[in-house]
Amino acid sequence: MTVNGQEVTADVEPRTLLVHFLRENLRLTGTHVGCETGYCGACTIHVDGQPVKSCTMLAAQADGASVTTIEGLAQNGELHPVQEGFWERHGLQCGFCTPGMIMSAAALLAENDNPSEDQIRHGIEGNLCRCTGYHNIVRAVEYAGAKVRGEEPPAPDWEGAS
């Protein structure tokens, strides 16, 4: 398989999960394990451009696939618009859910670069966050959508507030 554009070859046990292969074999620890049951989404990556919870997939199933993890999202030293949005709009606190959130949001924007708030919420409903209450995550994705479309991001909604 290729991971973040690099060819990777390894012999793995049939039972090895893709997330463990990424974290333990390749030491790409930005992909997190939050629940092991496919519920929290902290392990979300892209496989052939599609968002996948990598704890629900065997490493062997990714044979020949093109895998992108959070470490491969920034290009040429520039943050991906979704990464920038999460920073600019305070979309993270502890940050543990953040890589998975970003990968889900990036996949959403790749399909629809101008999602409504409802579409954003439905697009990343498979990712849990315990810190933020999700409000700033929605704002972060709106920011990123504007950047992807080449528009000025909407002003932060706290400006002018008390």
Binding site: H32, C40, L92, Q93, T98, E125, G133
Partner: protein, 741 residues
């Protein structure tokens, strides 16, 4: 207690009052931030834990042979291998490091193993053969209380105990067991130093108290154990108690190799303490005009098998059992019982959450009985600066803007646009079970009060060091960043204290600095922030004095409009200042629960708007608006982050989050069955920050982490009552409580 004069803010870019971008943002966004789960050392082994499958049993024998026989297993340790103190505990060391003769809760650690990889370690942990004689678990709090099997009893008596109100309302309320459910589970790495000592990197809210407990149980000198602050995926109280810390150090020193351990999610649910389930009986007396005359309460919380912080949680529940209201006749009896249920301890709100649900239900009941608007009743009785705490009698000297909170909450536009058009936004969600015409909308209010910092005479202090270096100012601290933004706010405080725009926070281990205390009780902004401000302002003054300067800024020291010493020269000189900050002293209460028990208070109010499907008993929380007393908003956007996240946890407790315990066994230790709010459950939030000078925190700041979680649950419950007319005496509210009543 005297109120301190608020320190002048020295202008500096990125100082207090701004919301600078998180300094840890880029590594967290790029996946390069190192969480405890991500740690790695060469030759590292993996640890795993053998846990009791019974909530109560006598251990007849432990055979480690089958586990040791597995290839790749380096160690299997039991209680016999603990060289020092056999027990640990945050307040009372009553919990075995490894159970020896008896197990007292489901999932209690019995043995630990180290092996060459994680699967082998888990295989070996499962292969340890433990013979149990199963005993009947005591899971009944009443029975425990009858037997006086308790961690603490509280008794509060204030004022005339014979007085009666013209109107009396009674109520009985229950709160279920909530889990902190931080997204990152418990994890850590211990590395032997080759000289009999060990370095520990593990999930924590309080590294110095971890270090003390490791030292005691390993029988080492204090200088042989260094606990390092480490990246963690959330905390919310779950990281205050030791869990894998001593185990990791035992395994590392036994094997002579680094040992790593990561709890699985199911294990995490048994590996940390939970929010105490509570049962509460209340009687409120008022006069016809709405004046609160007397409050009587009985509060029972279940501490589970071991002490953890049950004694302090119980005390808090009792101290805040009346809420932010004046009342001169109070009687509260509380008990924290010991059972074979899962141990409970700290979770955001720390006892104030449970009683808030009850006292706010009572206030609403009174309002209905008296025919007064719920907010008006609260305003009439609002507790404020210059009043005495209804429970302890303590004079409230710091600002307590309860009336401002109520007034501003009332003035916020309700934005009640009726149930949404999108049917997936109705109570049944994407299940599409709800007919739009059946939806009942309700609005509810609640106020909550809590102490900030540690209370009851605890010596609560934090040390911080501010150094000038070529990188700018560095704030050294052992205070833990749990996600709340400590790394931002301490740097902002340093900038505003020094008058310099370059400052970063650097975490250092327990050997390099004294304790910062726990990242809990909403205290680090005030206490570590207080130490940082004092160190920064002292350092600024010392530098100015040394050079006869009248100003210090990013260029250097100035005198009469001329630069006299450049910033590079200052950096080379190695200026530093270390300060240990203590908040105003508190004292243990007397036998009636009276005294100056707390250092500061914060009040918040919430207004919830809910949609309910009364037939199916389903609830959608539409929005939660809030007004919160913050003293001074040092980083408004971080505060909003705390408010929005805290409300989400409060909504979770109101309608979905509960650990289901049957016979001492957790039936839902996973994210499929323990329901956490998703982005589709998240209500809109409008937040007002009420600022007032006068608290002893830096620049008058108050802690902000807990208030959002305290009254949001009660407000949602009130809104459900408003929508349905059901009594809603228990949270989480279950469908049958609404549909059947």
């Amino acid at each position: 207690m005297t109120t301190k004069t608020t320190t002048r803010i020295t202008p500096a870019k990125g100082g207090v009052g701004e919301s600078p971008l998180r300094p840890d943002g880029v590594p967290k966004l790029k996946g390069t931030f190192e969480y405890a789960q991500d740690l790695h050392a060469d030759q590292m082994l993996w640890g795993a834990t053998t846990r009791s499958p019974h909530p109560h049993a006598r251990i007849v024998s432990i055979d480690v042979g089958p586990a040791l026989a597995i290839g790749g297993v380096h160690a299997v340790l039991t209680a016999d291998d603990v060289p020092g103190r056999a027990t640990f505990g945050l307040e009372h060391p009553d919990q075995p490091v490894l159970a020896s003769d008896e197990v007292r809760y489901w999932g209690e650690p019995v043995a630990i193993v180290a092996a060459e990889d994680e699967p082998t370690a888990r295989l070996a942990a499962a292969a340890v053969r433990v013979e149990y004689e199963v005993l009947e678990p005591n899971v009944d709090g009443d029975e425990a209380e009858r037997r006086d099997d308790t961690f603490r009893r509280m008794r509060i008596r204030r004022g005339d105990q014979e007085v009666q109100g013209e109107v009396v309302v009674d109520g009985y309320y229950e709160v279920g067991m909530q889990d902190q459910a931080p997204l990152g589970t418990e994890a850590g790495l211990a590395i032997p130093d080759g000289n009999g000592g060990v370095d520990l990197y593990a999930t924590s809210q309080f590294v110095h108290v971890d270090q003390e407990q490791v030292v005691a149980s390993l029988g080492l000198r204090p200088d042989q154990v260094r606990a390092h602050p480490t990246g963690i995926g959330g905390a919310f109280g779950a990281r205050e108690d030791v869990n894998l810390h001593i185990h990791l150090c035992l395994l590392a020193l036994y094997t002579g190799k680094p040992v790593k351990m990561v709890y699985q999610r199911s294990e995490s649910f048994t590996g940390h303490v939970h929010r105490h389930p509570a049962r509460m009986w209340y009687r409120h007396h008022a006069n016809r005009d709405g004046t609160l005359i007397r409050v009587e309460a009985r509060v029972v919380i279940d501490g589970g098998a071991y002490a953890s912080t049950t004694a302090a949680v119980l005390a808090n529940a009792c101290y805040f059992s009346v809420g932010p209201y004046r009342c001169d006749s109070v009687s509260v009896d509380g008990v924290g019982v010991r059972t074979n249920n899962p141990p409970c301890g700290a979770m955001r709100g720390f006892g104030a959450v449970q009683v808030c649900f009850a006292h706010e239900a009572q206030m609403d009941k009174l309002a209905t009985e008296l025919g007064i608007h719920p907010l008006e009743l609260r305003r009439m009785n609002a507790l404020t600066t210059g009043d005495h705490m209804p429970t302890t009698g303590q004079l409230i000297e710091t600002p307590l803007p309860t009336r401002e909170v109520i007034d501003s909450l009332e003035a916020m536009p309700i934005m009640d646009d009726g149930p949404p058009d999108d049917v997936t936004q109705l109570p049944g969600g994407t299940g599409l079970t709800t007919e739009p015409g059946d939806v009942k909308r309700g609005v509810g209010y609640a106020l909550g009060l809590k102490n900030l910092g540690f209370s009851e005479g605890f010596d609560d202090f934090a040390q911080a060091r501010v150094r000038l270096t070529e990188e700018g100012a560095i704030v050294e601290t052992a205070a833990i960043e749990v996600g709340q933004g400590l790394v931002s706010v301490l740097a902002q405080i340093a900038r505003s204290g020094l008058g310099l725009s370059r400052a970063v926070v650097k975490h250092v281990d327990t050997s390099r600095i004294e304790s910062a205390g726990s990242t809990s009780a909403s205290r680090q902004t005030q206490v570590s922030g207080g130490a940082t401000l004092e160190a920064a302002t002292k350092l600024r003054q010392r530098i100015l004095d040394a050079h006869g300067g009248d100003d210090l800024n990013d260029s250097g020291v100035w005198r009469g409009g001329e630069l006299v010493v450049g910033i590079e020269e200052l950096a080379e000189a190695g200026w530093e200042e270390t300060v240990t900050f203590r908040h105003p002293p508190t004292y243990a209460p007397d036998e009636d629960g009276q005294g100056v028990v707390h250092a500061d208070f914060a009040v918040a109010g919430h207004r919830a708007v809910v949609d309910v499907d009364p037939d199916l008993g389903l609830v959608k929380v539409h929005r939660v608006d809030t007004s919160q007393d913050v003293g001074r908003a040092l980083n408004p956007e971080s505060i909003r982050g705390q408010i929005e996240g805290g409300i989400m946890q409060g909504v979770g407790l109101a309608i979905m989050e509960e650990l289901v315990i049957e016979g001492g066994v957790i039936k839902n230790p996973n994210f499929t069955d323990y329901l956490l709010p998703t982005i589709l459950d998240a209500p809109d939030v409008e937040a007002l920050l009420i600022e007032e000078d006068g608290s002893w925190g830096p620049f008058g700041a108050k802690g902000v982490g807990e208030p959002p979680t305290i009254s949001s649950t009660a407000a949602v419950a009130a809104a459900i009552r408003d929508a349905t007319g059901r009594p809603v005496t228990r949270v989480p509210v279950r469908p049958q409580d609404i549909a059947i009543g």
